[in-house]
C-alpha cells in the first residue's frame, strides 16, 4: 500500500536506471544522509565517536573493499588485515615525510599504494582459485605483518616499532591527533564512506562490475564471451585493496592514533572483515554496511547492557558476549544463508505486495 511503484513514472533512461527506483526509497536515502551529515554531529560525543561510529564507518569501507573482491568477483581473500597495514604504514610514512600534505590526499595516496601492493598479491589469482587462492592471500597477510615488524624504516626507527599519528588538519579542523574533536573525525570518515560507497555502487553496476560478476559466476564462460580474466581479476584486486588501504589509513590515523602491526592488523582482522561480508551479504553494498554494523556495534551494545545496566561482573559479560555473538552469527546464517541484506530484500518484496500477498 505504502511502498510501491504505482504512479512513479520514469521519463528517461537515467531515471529508469537509478540506484533507488522507488520514490520512498530515494527519500529515505536523502533523509538518512541528512541525519548523518547534519543531525549526528550535533549530538555526537567522544564515546559515541570513538567506540561506535568511527569504527563502524571504517569497517564499512573495509567490508566494501572485500565485498568487491570476494562478493562481486568471487576471489576469496584472507589478506585484508595485511592490506590495512599497508594503508596505515603508507599514511604514517607520508604524514611524517610530507608534513604539509593534506590529510585527505594522504589517505587517498595510501589507498593507491595499497592498490599497487594488492595487484602484486593478486597475480596468483590468475592461476589458482578458491581455497588455494585463500591460502596465497594468507601468505600476503603474514608477509606484510612480518615486513612492517622487521624493517625499521617503516616505523621511522622508533624504539618500540609503534607508529603514532601526528596532528593534521582539514579546513582548519584537526582530524588526526589527540585533540581532534569527535565531530571532525566523524565527518571526515563519513565523507569518505559516502564517496566510496557511491563509487562502489556505480562500479558494480557498470561494465567493470558486470565483468567481475561474470568471472565470479563462471570464469570459462566469461572468457569465451570476451571478458579478459587478467584485467578483470587485477582490477578487482586493485580497487578492493584501494578501499581496504583507505580503511587501514583511517583506522590508524583517525581512529586509534597509534598502532602496532601485529596487534592491530593481525589475522583476526582479516577474518573479521570476511565475517562482516558473509553475515551482511556477499555481493551487496548494503550488506557491507549491515555486516560492519553487526560486528562492530553488537559487542558494544551487549557489553553496555550487561555491564552498564545489569551490573554483571566484567569477565562474565565478556565471555557471554563472545558466546552470544557466535550464536547470533550461526542463527543468522542458518535462517538466511545469503546474509542480512537478503532479509532486507525479502522484506521489500513483501512490502510491495502488502496487504495483498497474492
Amino acid at each position: 500500500m505504502l511502498y510501491r511503484e504505482a504512479g512513479d513514472f520514469k521519463k528517461s533512461y537515467a531515471e529508469d536506471s537509478q540506484t533507488f527506483p522507488l520514490k520512498l526509497d530515494r527519500w529515505g536515502y536523502y533523509v538518512l544522509l541528512a541525519v548523518a551529515f547534519l543531525g549526528v554531529p550535533l549530538v555526537i560525543n567522544d564515546y559515541w565517536a570513538s567506540a561506535v561510529l568511527i569504527p563502524f564507518l571504517i569497517w564499512t569501507i573495509a567490508a566494501l573493499g572485500l565485498n568487491i573482491l570476494t562478493g562481486y568477483c568471487g576471489q576469496l581473500s584472507l589478506g585484508s588485515g595485511g592490506f590495512m597495514a599497508v594503508g596505515a604504514y603508507a599514511s604514517y610514512k607520508l604524514m611524517t615525510s610530507f608534513p604539509d600534505l593534506n590529510i585527505m590526499i594522504i589517505v587517498l595516496i595510501s589507498g593507491a599504494i595499497t592498490a599497487a601492493v594488492g595487484v602484486v598479491f593478486g597475480l596468483p589469482s590468475l592461476r589458482i582459485k578458491g581455497f588455494y587462492l585463500a591460502v596465497a592471500t594468507l601468505a600476503a597477510q603474514f608477509f606484510l605483518v612480518w615486513l612492517f615488524n622487521k624493517v625499521e624504516w617503516f616505523y621511522n626507527y622508533s624504539a618500540s616499532g609503534q607508529i603514532s599519528a601526528p596532528k593534521r588538519e582539514m579546513f582548519g579542523f584537526e582530524v588526526t591527533g589527540p585533540s581532534a574533536t569527535a565531530e571532525a573525525k566523524y565527518l571526515f570518515c563519513l565523507v569518505l564512506v559516502v564517496l566510496l560507497a557511491w563509487v562502489a555502487r556505480n562500479l558494480t553496476r557498470g561494465r567493470i562490475g558486470r565483468s567481475w560478476m561474470a568471472i565470479r559466476d563462471m570464469d570459462i564462460a566469461a572468457e569465451i564471451i570476451g571478458v579478459n580474466p587478467l584485467k578483470t581479476k587485477l582490477t578487482a584486486f586493485a580497487i578492493s585493496s584501494f578501499f581496504i588501504g583507505v580503511a587501514g589509513a583511517l583506522f590508524f590515523a583517525v581512529y586509534l592514533g597509534a598502532v602496532e602491526v601485529g596487534e592491530a592488523f593481525g589475522i583476526q582482522k582479516s577474518f573479521l572483515v570476511l565475517f562482516m561480508i558473509i553475515i551482511g551479504g556477499l555481493g551487496s553494498i548494503l550488506g557491507s554496511f549491515i555486516g560492519a554494523a553487526f560486528l562492530v556495534l553488537l559487542p558494544v551494545l551487549l557489553k553496555n547492557i550487561m555491564v552498564g545496566w545489569l551490573g554483571w561482573p566484567i569477565d562474565l559479560a565478556a565471555h557471554i558476549e563472545l558466546v552470544s555473538i557466535g550464536f547470533i552469527i550461526m542463527l543468522t546464517l542458518v535462517l538466511e544463508p545469503h546474509g542480512m541484506a537478503q532479509l532486507w530484500r525479502v522484506t521489500k518484496q513483501k512490502l510491495r505486495l502488502w496487504p495483498f500477498p497474492h
Binding site: D46, Y47, S50, A51, P55, T96, N149, S158, A159, S160, G161, Q162, S164, P166, K167, G177, P178, S179, Y255, L256, G257, A258, V259, E260, G262, E263, A264, G266, V300, K303, V307, G308, W309, L310, G311, I314, D315, A317, A318, H319
Partner: protein, 428 residues
C-alpha cells in the same frame, strides 16, 4: 510479574553500579579474559582490593571514598580506547592500563584530556622525561632500567668483565618486547658482549625454533621480555634443553608464579627482575586479610594474594593513593580532580617512613618524582625462584641502572616525540 522483578533487579543494579560523582574514581582497564587473562586477573584484583581496604579501614583517602571502575580490555587496543572514552567522563583521576599498546595510544589522549597516567615498569620508556610527557609517569622503573639492571647483574657475576660473552634476548615481537633492544645494543657496545635477538611472535606458544637456536649457539646468558603464555612456554623450553636456569633472567613481567609453576622443578633457579617484593610478609597483608578477604569483599577469590602480580597491582594502587594524599595536601581540598592528581604524582616522595606507615616497609624502593623526571631512580632487584618451597627470594639488593647509557637514549627518543608532535617544554 516476572518482568517486573527483573526490572527491579536491573534498577537496583544500576543504582548500585553507577559511581557517585563525589568519589575518588580510579578506572581499572583490566583484562580478565583473553590470552593474557592469567596475568591480568591478579593485577586487577590487587589494584581493587587495596582501594577496598582504604574504604573499609580509613573511610577512603582524606575522608573521601574511592571507587574503582573496571572495564574489560582483553589486552586489545580497540577495547582499550572504548574503555578510556567510557570512563574518562566519570571523574577519572588516573589511568593504569597495564598494556604497552594501550599506553602508546593513551599518551597523547591523556595529555589532551588532562588526566595523568601511571605505567609502572611498562609503556613508553622515554615518558620518564616529564619535560615532554606532561601527563605520563613511569616510576619507579622502566624497561631500559630493567635491561641495564640485568646486564649489571651479569657484570657482577663475572667480576665486571663480560667481553666476548654472548647474551641472547628472547622477546615478545611487539612494541613491548622491542623496547629494551636499543639499550642492550648500547650496553653491548660499552661492555663488549655479543647480543643475539630472538623474536617470538604473539602470543608465544610456539618457540621451538628459538630454543633450538639457543641450544645450538649456547649463549652465556638469556634475557627474556615475555608476557602471558609466552613466559611459561619459554621456561619449559629452557628446561627441556637443560639450559642452566641461573643464567636465564626475565624482566619483571616474566617473573610471576604463573610463569614458573608449570615447569615444576625444571624452573628451579630461574631469575627475574623485580621492583617490589613478592609474598605477604608485610603488616599490610594482615589488614587486607581481615578487612577485605575474610569479609568477602575481595575482587577475586583471594587465592592470588601475595603473588607477584597481585602485589604489583596493589603497589600501583598504593602509589596512586599516596599521590592523592600529596595532592590533597598541596591544594587543601579532599575532593581532588585529575589536574590536582597530576600535581600529586609529580611531587610524590616515597620514603621509608611512608612505606612503614602503609605497612609495607622494604616493599619497594624509595624515590622522588619531579617535573623533569617522571621515571624515578629506576632501581630494581633480582629475585630467584625456589621450586621446592615455591617462592621467590631476593638475591640482590637494589641495583642502580647505568643512566650514562639510558639518559641520552631517553633524551633522544623524547626529543623526537616532541618534534613530531610539536610539544613545548613544560617544566619552567
Amino acid at each position: 510479574m516476572k518482568f517486573n522483578k527483573l526490572a527491579a533487579i536491573a534498577v537496583a543494579a544500576v543504582t548500585a553500579a553507577s559511581p557517585v560523582l563525589a568519589d575518588l574514581v580510579f578506572p581499572s582497564l583490566s583484562y580478565r579474559t583473553g590470552p593474557y587473562a592469567a596475568n591480568g586477573i591478579p593485577f586487577a584484583d590487587g589494584f581493587a582490593d587495596y582501594f577496598t581496604l582504604l574504604n573499609e579501614r580509613d573511610g577512603g583517602i582524606g575522608g573521601v571514598m574511592t571507587t574503582v571502575i573496571e572495564c574489560e580490555t582483553g589486552y586489545s587496543t580497540e577495547k582499550g580506547v572504548e574503555c578510556y572514552e567510557a570512563t574518562k567522563g566519570e571523574g577519572a583521576l588516573m589511568y593504569q592500563p597495564l598494556s604497552t599498546g594501550i599506553t602508546y595510544q593513551l599518551i597523547p589522549k591523556t595529555a589532551a584530556d588532562g588526566i595523568p597516567m601511571l605505567t609502572s615498569g611498562y609503556g613508553r620508556t622515554s615518558a620518564a622525561n616529564g619535560d615532554v610527557f606532561s601527563h605520563t609517569f613511569n616510576f619507579p622503573a622502566n624497561y631500559w632500567n630493567g635491561a641495564s639492571i640485568a646486564v649489571s647483574h651479569i657484570l657482577d657475576l663475572n667480576d665486571g668483565n663480560i667481553e666476548d660473552k654472548t647474551i641472547a634476548l628472547v622477546y615478545h615481537n611487539s612494541a613491548y618486547g622491542k623496547e629494551p633492544i636499543r639499550t642492550l645494543e648500547a650496553l653491548a657496545e660499552k661492555h663488549g658482549f655479543n647480543l643475539t635477538l630472538l623474536p617470538v611472535d604473539a602470543p608465544g606458544q610456539e618457540q621451538k625454533s628459538q630454543w633450538l637456536q639457543i641450544r645450538r649457539e649456547r649463549p652465556d646468558y638469556v634475557l627474556m621480555w615475555g608476557w602471558g603464555v609466552m613466559n611459561p612456554v619459554a621456561i619449559q623450553e629452557a628446561a627441556n634443553i637443560r639450559y642452566p636456569m641461573e643464567n636465564f633472567i626475565g624482566i619483571w613481567w616474566s617473573g610471576s608464579e604463573n610463569d614458573v609453576a608449570p615447569s615444576g622443578d625444571g624452573a628451579h633457579g630461574y631469575k627475574a627482575l623485580a621492583f617490589h617484593a613478592a609474598g605477604r610478609d608485610f603488616p599490610l597483608f594482615d589488614d587486607l586479610q581481615e578487612l577485605v578477604i575474610d569479609a568477602g569483599l575481595a575482587a577475586g577469590d583471594g587465592e592470588h594474594v601475595g603473588t607477584v602480580l597481585y602485589n604489583r597491582g596493589m603497589y600501583g594502587a598504593v602509589m596512586a593513593a599516596e599521590a592523592v594524599k600529596v595532592a590533597q595536601e598541596m591544594h587543601g581540598v579532599a575532593q581532588i580532580n585529575a589536574s590536582m592528581m597530576r600535581d600529586g604524582l609529580e611531587n610524590l616522595v616515597i620514603s621509608d617512613e611512608i612505606m612503614a606507615a602503609i605497612g609495607l616497609q622494604g616493599f619497594g624502593p624509595n624515590f622522588e618524582v619531579s617535573c623533569e623526571n617522571h621515571g624515578g631512580p629506576g632501581l630494581g632487584r633480582i629475585q630467584q625462584w625456589d621450586a621446592s618451597t615455591e617462592s621467590w627470594s631476593m638475591i640482590t639488593d637494589f641495583i642502580e641502572p647505568d643512566m650514562d647509557i639510558i639518559q641520552p637514549l631517553i633524551d633522544a627518543d623524547s626529543a623526537a616525540y616532541a618534534a613530531e608532535n610539536g610539544i613545548e617544554s613544560q617544566c619552567n
